[in-house]
Amino acid sequence: MSACTRDEWMTVAAARLLANDSVCFVGIGLPSAACNLARLTHAPEIVLIYESGTIGTRPDVLPLSIGDGELAETAACVVPLPEIFSFYLQAGRVDVGFLGAAQIDRFGNLNSTVIGPYELPSTRLPGAGGAPEIALHARQVFVMARATPRSFVEQLDFRSSAGYLDGHGARARTGAPGGGPRAVITDFGMLAPHPESEELQLVALFEGVTVDEARAAIGWPLLVADRLDTIAPPSAHELDTLRALNTRTREAHARPVHIPL
């Protein structure tokens, strides 16, 4: 295996979490790469849903936007977006929802709305989009985020979507149907909620990464699980498949587009 980037390792680590019979609600970026990598390796039958309304899509190249034509052309079907959110997500038909965020706290709550006060933010972020209800309804949520103390924070500026709220069963007491953030895949390894407190703790490290490196990247005092696993580097097959996918994607998106004059 050649040396891989941390993004590649994160993508591979996330892909490995996906089962062949999973129904995944996919976001753009690393989650989309992870889901399609899973589909192209160990999970050929995985069902990918993008919120644009494309169900069971099998893109040959990664989409740049959530609504690329490639997603529609390779989908089992394309339905209006309100049906995606009511008949599929809210109906409890999604096994895995992928989310990212600008900020995440120790209970897996996410902020993608504002930095600073809501009414007069220092940074207005794009907003929650599909996240609040993905976080609510997916059987499990996987968060993918590169870790820095500015993004893994003690206190969110705004809670855009719910993780475990204040932990200790607070989420379940709201009646939230889904299981919440079961895994946070970062660029050093993985966090997962403690079974009782529901605080995110370190459960796995990329091979060769130290606990100290992980702690330095997290803005709260990071706890380490009783059992700490090691995440093996990408296999040659995983890495070849991912890189071929990324190469196809770059080539496809580099093709000049004809202005429709």
Partner: protein
């Protein structure tokens, strides 16, 4: 209502009034850029802009000072990053303050669906554990009269005008849409007035049966406008210009560069064809 065939400038002039609530829908696909540019050319003001995913065209409308309020659920440059004009309006009130009516996708989808159904509110199991309801009085609770469960409620969205872009219409004004539709159909049927720009006008639509068709009597005006979704795309006609979306990041980052660009390519062009030609010229220069 009977459907008229109009030029784009006429349609905008007739139906988009200062202060109106306007939804330009289309989810990444079929975003009505040409219509948005025409609204900018006609210097409409105080609009209540509605759209799940304010895209570049809303960044432009906001940066040109057309908007007073924005109802939305995700305001970014898809696959690229921020909408800098939207940010500047919210963060610094430039060129004017922008009021925000912020939802989740599921909330807006429920609101458009309620609007299309002419119900006063939509219901969803949503927003639980988020700070959005605390900052938006348009997110309330309603109790199920059978189970007692408290659910989220959002007021129906019924835009004064919805504008879509679609692949084709027939001469009667029936509109056919292929591919990703997002909440376009619901936004269309929720509107008091529906304008659709289309790639082509045909004698007869392809066989429909269960395809997505907006019947002519739900359509107020049809405008023939080739390339009307560019730099977004029209499935079967042309692809999304991802490079343009990436270039936009640098253009929109700077107020003056943004104004210059709008001046040259939008205000300085007569219509969408001229807009496209101005980009073509730039590309080959």
């Amino acid at each position: 209502m009977s459907c008229q065939h109009l030029q784009l400038a006429e349609a905008i002039e007739l139906f988009v009034h200062d202060g109106a609530s306007v939804a330009l829908e289309g989810f990444t696909h079929l975003i009505p850029f040409a219509a948005g540019h025409e609204i900018i050319r006609q210097r409409k003001r105080d609009l209540h802009l509605i759209r799940m995913t304010p895209d570049l065209i809303y960044d432009q409308l906001i940066g040109m000072g057309c908007a007073r309020i924005l109802t939305f659920s995700w305001g970014g440059n898809p696959g690229v990053g921020s909408l800098h004009r939207l940010r500047d309006a919210v963060e610094h009130g430039w060129p004017r303050p922008l009021e925000i009516d912020e939802h989740s996708h599921a909330g807006m989808a429920a609101a458009f669906t309620a609007g299309a159904s002419r119900l006063p509110f939509g219901v969803l199991r949503g927003y639980i554990g988020t700070d959005l309801p605390a900052h938006n009085p348009n997110i309330r609770r309603v109790a199920c009269p059978f189970t007692g469960e408290a659910l989220a409620a959002v007021p129906a969205l019924n835009p004064d005008v919805t504008i879509l872009h679609a692949q084709r219409a027939d001469r009667a004004g029936n509109v056919a849409i292929d591919g990703i539709v997002g909440a376009a159909r619901e936004a269309a049927l929720a509107a008091k007035m529906l304008i659709v720009t289309v790639e082509e006008i045909v004698d007869a639509l392809p066989p429909a049966m269960n395809a997505i068709v907006l019947p002519h009597w739900t359509v107020g005006a049809v405008v023939h406008c080739r390339g009307g979704a560019y730099p977004s795309y029209a499935q079967g006609h042309y692809a999304r210009d991802n490079a343009f979306y990436q270039r936009w990041d640098a253009i929109a980052r700077d107020r003056q560069r943004f104004l210059d660009w709008m001046d040259h390519h939008v205000l300085g062009t007569r219509d969408h064809r001229a807009f496209l030609a101005s980009l073509q010229t730039e590309a080959t220069a």
